[in-house]
């Protein structure tokens, strides 16, 4: 396989995640989109690590996985706060600060 094949798969996953973030009204649905985008970045890092033969890509992937997990934890805490104050997690309705 060429490196371009892996990069194209990662690009497809990234764009699925982007579509999810742009269209979801549910806050957890948006978090799923963000997860997909982070996962696409990890695929790129691992593919470049394999094709360049360097260990740094795998180290960065481990950092990225830990960062994503921390982001999900804080994001879900924020979603819980949103639910507690509004009784739903629709991000379109939570727009009091709209300019």
């Amino acid at each position: 396989m060429t490196l371009a094949a892996y990069l194209i798969v990662a690009a497809a996953v990234f764009c699925c995640g982007l579509y999810g973030v742009l269209t979801r009204r549910n806050a957890i649905g948006m978090l799923i989109g963000v997860e997909l985008m982070a996962n696409a970045g990890n695929i790129n890092l691992i593919a470049f690590s394999r094709f360049l033969g360097q260990v740094d890509g795998q180290v960065f992937t481990l950092f990225a996985i830990a960062l994503t997990v921390a982001e999900v934890v804080v994001g879900l805490a924020l979603v819980l706060l949103l639910y507690r104050s509004r009784k739903n997690i629709d991000v379109v309705q939570a727009s009091e600060m709209k300019g």
Binding site: M1, T2, L3, A4, Y6, L7, I8, V9, A11, A12, V13, F14, C15, C16, G17, L18, Y19, G20, L22, T23, R24, R25, N26, I28, G29, I32, G33, E35, L36, N39, N42, I43, I46, S49, R50, F51, G53, V55, D56, Q58, V59, L62, I65, A66, L67, T68, V69, A70, E71, V72, V73, V74, L76, A77, L78, V79, L80, L81, D90, V92
Partner: protein, 164 residues
Amino acid sequence: MMLEYVAFGIISTAIVGSAIGAVTSRNLVHSVLFLASTLLSTAVLYVHLESALIAGIQVILYTGGVITLMLFGILLTDDTHAVTRQNRSTGHLAGGIGALAMFGFIIASIHQSALPSLPQTFDINAKSIGFAFLTKHLLAFEALSLLLLAALVGAVVLARRSDP
């Protein structure tokens, strides 16, 4: 050689197909389960790329941690009497155009770039990754432990009901 193409085709179809399912499913629980399928298929792709350690960590952290957390999040933020969870979406046309434009941009960038070919030797294992962690990337490693502590404390402070 042929078998490798077949394996890559199956894995990438599973990844992209379940990613599309995750962003288009109308039921939020189905979305999370499609996300789990994407992440597991990605772990298989990591094994295909000879990165077994990352594949194991991906399975443990994502499917063990993140998916469970998300299912708990759904449980806590919706009515529990219905099995189906609404996962409405809006702006399909604008979102689809934006995502497709981004895809075209990335494909054009990949097409223009000079990419390296597959090297013959590849000797990265858990030992060399751990060595790189504790020598070259030691500062980032320590900063990451601080970040995990901050995320732990932050999540507890944000999500607790009130002052005891």
